[in-house]
Symmetry: D2
Subunit: 284 residues, 4 copies
């Protein structure tokens, strides 16, 4: 009396440290990987017949085995490699989706020089990538998440709709803080993944800093446009910008003014602004 209309399964949070030992330095990558497969797996749901099931433990092993001989210069390349392994190597798989999130590690500076084998980490920011392979085609989406930015001026919010539940005051100079999540879609094919990532990230940071914001929505649009301008291989970008409110403290009960100096940062509730921009096909 029921039927299975969708099924998927995989291994999540496979964590990988990959060290490449060059004569003059070591390179370090730390990546967390999710593998998800769709395909002809209905028998295990309906009958407990596992003959077509690739164990999720096998997926984990595969990630480590394939990492052995892959340079891991960028998560996009390793994601494509994994997606092809699963989608092209097993008859029962109709699509493979690989999600990768890379931790940022930078070299420790010793006497002003980057140390060849010692690293400092700890940023919340992750570089991300989703590769999906299905029907012989591969799509690559890249992005970042948990990039915290804040500007102390050049941001306002006024002229918004007012009704009986509106108490918010207009602000022509407020703090704007957000935690950027961005994901962009690449045109099909191979690209200079690292250069594109760096250009998109840098352009969004610079635009955030220099732009005059009339609303978080407008900031989102400008940051998205900056990324599309910075990297021609990107056809579309989605951004999510929570409004990480810094609320001015009312010091008047203590006989003091607050010259836009003392604020309380709050985690909840928060505004959440999202949007997707696409490059016009005809370039207009």
């Amino acid at each position: 009396v029921t039927h299975l209309v969708r099924n998927a399964y995989g291994k999540s949070r496979v964590r990988l440290t990959r060290v490449t030992r060059h004569p003059d330095r070591h390179d370090l990558k730390e990546v967390t990987i999710d593998v998800e497969l769709e395909g002809d797996f209905e028998a295990t749901y309906t009958e407990g017949d596992n003959r077509s099931v690739i164990a999720t433990d096998t997926m984990k092993n595969t990630v480590y085995a394939l990492a052995r001989n892959h340079p891991l210069d960028h998560i996009e390349g390793f994601g494509v490699h994994l997606a092809k392994h699963f989608a092209d190597g097993y008859e029962q798989v109709s699509s493979a989706t690989i999600r990768l999130a890379e931790d940022a590690w930078t070299r420790i500076s010793v006497d002003g020089n980057a140390h060849p084998t010692a690293f400092v980490g700890g940023s919340a920011e992750k570089r991300t990538c989703t590769v999906r392979r299905s029907g012989g085609a591969t799509s690559v989406r890249s992005g970042l998440r948990d990039l915290l930015v804040l500007k102390t001026t050049d941001s306002g919010f006024s002229g918004f709709a007012r009704d009986q539940y509106t108490t918010l005051k207009e602000a022509d100079d407020r703090i704007l803080a957000t935690v950027v999540t961005a994901e962009w879609v690449y045109e099909e094919g191979d690209h200079d993944w690292n250069a594109c990532f760096e250009a998109a990230r840098l352009s969004m940071l610079e635009r955030f800093a220099t732009h005059h914001s009339l609303s978080v929505q407008q900031t989102l649009m400008d940051m998205g446009n900056a990324a599309l301008e910075a990297c021609p291989a990107i056809s579309e970008i989605s951004l999510q910008l929570p409004n990480s409110h810094r609320i001015p403290i009312d010091l008047s009960p203590f006989g003091m003014d607050n010259p836009n100096a003392v604020f309380v940062p709050t985690d909840e509730p928060f505004g959440m602004i999202s949007g997707t921009l696409r490059r016009n096909r005809d370039g207009r």
Copy 2:
């Protein structure tokens, strides 16, 4: 040279405590609510023109004001009320989505009796609901998340595919533990939301306990079927069941056997199994 292909915004994590003071007892609800709107908001993205923008601060105020006169007997009813307020009350709104998550509080037992005004909480489990109103129609999805369950027997996993990366041993008696996320779709209209929720939840728990599992996939299918059987108003259910592995410890280096007694629970990596079941229209 770009255009906005999707936009949405709202207020997330509006937290609400609602106490209803009856003569013989107090009722307590604690709910975290997200409001998200779509509609004619492009001008703020492209021009910073905020005239159509309902401030997210106003959304928060609205939640509290509407909670004042609503019984909040169930999150579904309050979600519908909020969705109608936003979708039907503002011309520029084309759809309103309300997400609600309720914390479980139970009465403290004093001398074996439920205390009328004192409560104990702390479960990770949340009752959830998503109401979407668009074009005059309202859809209601309900569910739960973070329901931890474990069975010490009646679970195996064998007969799966083997390749060069497979090392997992077949298991005919393993621990099965998972953290249930379930979301079901109601037929249009009004239903006995609390009775349906209780019936669906209880049936899934009982099926998990009594069922013999040949794979997590099969357990998912059986639990979904149980919910569909328990509540005729449900037309479809999606489940996500991470495999919260309990790995037997190899005690042989210490000259001991391990009679399925000593395990290490691990958080990562984990298998993730998902599926969606739909009731057949013709009842077959």
Copy 3:
């Protein structure tokens, strides 16, 4: 030019699942264990000489090996067993401290009966225990943490000190919510650990429910006294009670009163109240 004035090391977050398979039912314990040793370990700090170092990996193995033959009826008994193993079995160890935190699992109810092999968990509340063995003596502290409780009435806070920075209004009927952390000290020797734990926990819950609170401090004192009355083997108890504020919403901007009905729960900032009570030696 420097000297080491204190050193300690160990293994943290050793997670253990222990299943005891009786003919009619299985018992389940899940415990997270920290082992910490002090002693004659200075040579590894100063010289990198590891000859006296018991590897933390060995500590982990020991936990699993000792769990194989221990009934684990209570975390106190297993903690004492581990502490003796490390403190009495190695010459270089001067003291061993074992910290244990147990997850709550209860049996799933099927048709009103407790199922023999299926469990539901997910409570934030942990039962805790710290065993320290040093110089041939063993001390046992037990407790709990993350026990969420809330009362909707019978709580006020008034008559407090006022100065130029005080804006808080007096409250004669407020919501009181807290997250109980309690740790008590047992008289030396062996006790009925499970009965004591249950009596102490229940008495604190009941006192919280039935007591009229004039301050969180007074509630702390009353709950501590309840535990000391409930279990004579306890000589001292420390409690930490954060004040998990539920702040009444001002609905007057919307033309509404708020009859103690609508509140916002906040996580930060929070009041934090702590205190330690000791039983008088002479019983007065």
Copy 4:
């Protein structure tokens, strides 16, 4: 029949954003502050008599009011200011402890130049400080926490004790990763807090990078010595170094070697190494 042997209370997680608006740039500090008082507060515990109680809400207000006119050049200075306010301004207070944790924000680089009003954050690392004032004396402890560091070589662990539960292999070239928590004690008096912090932090990072590690304990000792050498105003330092294991993957089941290239990072269990170093009084 019981007495209160210790009591303390305060406000935790008071979050503060402080912007100082210079003509050519804005400075930004974000700090989370805990206030804790001890003193003559027994009457509220025993009688619910709140006359001596400074409400924790007042503490929060005081933090914001005092931040209005304080430059907040360093958390140490603001901590001392707050501690004196509470310890010296209220007769019933015998000691005040202020704990501060500062988020790292750095300026966004635009065309290679530090932007004057836009910032990027997101590091887990916090700069910390604990100021305690009691009996007219003030002690200052400063430090940091959640500083992630990793070295891919120059670290081993061998020659440790072996018993029947030891399975760990000796390692002469392993990855060493840790999350540094450090807290140092300053000599009484005023110091150049920012210069000392920077010198201590930098010296520990450099020592971690360049030192050859025979055990985490030895690394701890060397890092502590580096900080004591870098800042003469520090008399003592405590470090906690969890061993954030990177475990080499055994690729032999797949017919591959693993040339120290592929690892799994694990969060639990973890080794935890701690130690306290004190400068010798006589300089030897």
